[in-house]
């Protein structure tokens, strides 16, 4: 009896599994995988918005043009600067905060709640908020500088030298919560006994961190920095609101560049080629990251 029902039930389950998977699988294929492939194909065409002649295959012409597009490479350089400039301080600050929040301190609940607030905010609002902070006249930053007596302050977001550092600070602020939460989760999995044993053996704080804490959170640290690097490289809304890429293109991230190319100038094919180059670079970064993880596995 059991044997007799087992076989048909198993097959039924397989059918059932398909039934369960399809509602999500179809949209994924149609609206995510499909467009991705379509996008890659577009990079090899001369597709433009609103034109009447049919789109043609042009081979690698877009990529060859891109190779000589100094504006794009400048934007690419800024994008990498931005991504690294945001990810590294973000990680260090979040690690410090996570270590503090893992201690039994008073006001910890408040800090935990506040640490997450930027996560809940629309990026556009974060951008607006910091525009108010950076505002040359009515902003709090310049007012504080005037109060301390360090001069008159400056127009942070329109200065050629200050614009990129200023938006990087905002990027760090906006991305800290995810990083902190992830690292805190890792810290809470660190065995407490190991810490105590190390302290008994007379290991100082730094040594305890290096030998006990860091090995325990390393996998999470690697994963979250890799994700942060990708997210930051692809970020758009913050800088769009803060500077729209100005002054003089000093904060024009690759996403802003490609957006303008596609939806202001209508160069769909060319913009898609830019997207492909961005994917390639991100893949290389991911590959390095993966190699790093594998090497760690070899060490044991």
């Amino acid at each position: 009896m059991t044997l007799a029902t087992a076989t048909p039930r198993r097959r039924l389950l397989d059918h059932g599994a398909w039934f369960l998977v399809l509602p999500a699988l179809l949209p994924i294929l149609v609206l995510s995988v499909g467009p991705l492939l379509y996008g890659i194909a577009l990079a090899f065409t001369d597709a433009q918005s609103g034109r009447t002649e049919p789109t043609q295959w042009i081979g690698t012409l877009n990529f060859r043009d891109l190779l000589h597009d100094t504006l794009f490479w400048e934007s690419f350089r800024i994008g990498l600067l931005w991504a690294v400039g945001v990810t590294v301080p973000q990680f260090l600050l979040a690690l410090g905060l996570a270590l503090l929040l893992n201690q039994k301190l008073r006001l910890r609940w408040l800090a935990r709640a506040l640490a997450i607030v930027p996560w809940a905010m629309p990026e556009v609002v974060v951008g607006i908020m910091w525009r108010l902070v950076y505002n040359p006249d009515a902003g709090i930053l310049n007012e504080t500088i005037r109060d301390i007596g360090l001069g008159d302050g400056r127009d942070w977001l329109s200065g050629l030298a200050t614009a990129l550092p200023a938006v990087i600070v905002v990027g760090v602020w906006a991305g800290m919560p995810q990083t902190t939460v992830a690292l805190l989760a890792g810290l809470q999995n660190t065995p407490r006994e190991l810490h105590e044993a190390a302290a008994m053996d007379g290991a100082g704080a730094w040594r305890r961190f290096r030998t006990v804490t860091w090995p325990a959170i390393r996998p999470i640290a690697l994963a979250i920095t890799a994700l942060n690097l990708i997210w930051n490289f692809n970020s758009f809304a913050l800088v769009y609101v803060l500077t729209s890429g100005g002054p003089g293109g000093r904060t024009r991230l690759p996403m802003l560049f490609a957006y303008e190319e596609a939806f202001r100038y209508g160069q769909f094919g060319y913009a898609a080629a830019m997207g492909c180059v961005m994917v390639a670079v991100i893949s290389i970064i991911l590959a390095f990251h993966l190699v790093g993880r594998l090497r760690r596995g070899d060490d044991g």
């Binding site: 995510s32 108010l132 957006y259 961005m278």
Partner: protein, 277 residues
């Protein structure tokens, strides 16, 4: 382990510095939102408005169609959250319980989709939706948001499904409950809190989203809040600060409230997902 007094003091100073850094931009936004125009024009702005006013809020509603925008945002976010959870939960169940090639591919997609530059996806989506006449429409935006929220929703839900012991389902099967019956009366109730948390998270993601909305919604009466907010900033980058701050403050409140509700569960969900790998 005893911590010396100087170290403790240092820790509190550091924590205070973090609190200031994290909180001050938001406090400044609130302060600006309640300041009358005259104070905003003065060269010595104060933290606390000297003559607090609601005029900025009134002016914000006069200048831009904020109510329509909020309604569009609400419809888009609710639609995305409900549909995403409805289709993601069964798939997450299969991914958590059956180690098939399909599950592995789906997991791979969840990871890879994090690395998509949106620009590569948005152009084809724009063309596809244009052919379907779903450009400049909230339903079209919902479709995009659903797929966009799926990776993280799946990631969270797989963690929650794993947390439900498979033995419970087997016990129900031994007691003679069919597959459907087991899912409905054993698994679903245990998953419910996780499903709600995932839905709320998808809601926040969609409520806050800007890039797709900017590209896909063309006319002001269809646009969502984040897009309408950028209209307060003029072409020259000059903004009417008071109404801008007031509108931005209002637009943040819903996601802050929802986030406060699910804050613990998000952390838990990330943990559950992280333990898996």
């Amino acid at each position: 382990m005893r911590t010396s007094r100087t170290v403790r003091l240092g820790q509190y100073v550091a924590l205070l510095a973090y609190l200031v850094f994290l909180a001050f931009p938001f406090l400044w936004l609130i302060s600006t939102a309640f300041k009358p125009a005259r104070e905003l024009g003065s060269l010595h702005p104060t933290w606390i408005p000297q003559n607090p006013t609601l005029a900025n809020f009134r002016q914000a509603f006069d200048e831009q169609p904020l109510l329509d925008a909020a309604l569009n945002s609400l419809v888009a976010a609710l639609g995305a959250a409900v549909v995403a959870v409805l289709i993601a939960t069964p798939m997450a169940y299969v991914m958590a319980r059956h180690r098939t090639t399909l599950s592995r591919m789906a997991t791979g997609w969840v990871v890879v989709s994090q690395a998509f530059p949106f620009v590569l996806v948005i152009i084809p989506l724009f063309l596809v939706l244009k052919n379907l006449r779903l450009i400049n429409s909230v339903p079209g935006l919902i479709m995009v948001y659903v797929v966009w929220a799926l990776p993280f929703a799946l990631w969270m839900l797989v963690g929650y499904v794993r947390a439900v012991p498979a033995e419970l389902e087997e016990a129900a099967a031994v007691d003679g409950a069919g597959k459907v019956r087991t899912l409905v009366s054993v698994t679903a109730p245990l998953l419910a809190p996780g499903i709600v948390a995932t839905a709320l998270f998808a809601f926040i993601t969609a409520w806050n989203e800007f890039f797709f909305a900017l590209v896909l919604l063309k006319t002001p009466e269809k646009q969502t809040l984040p897009v309408v907010l950028t209209h307060f900033i003029g072409a020259e980058g000059v903004a009417d600060l008071g109404p801008l701050a007031a509108a931005a403050f209002l637009a943040t409140l819903p996601s802050l409230v929802v986030f406060a509700i699910i804050q613990k569960r998000i952390t838990g969900g990330m943990l559950a997902g992280a333990v898996k790998s």
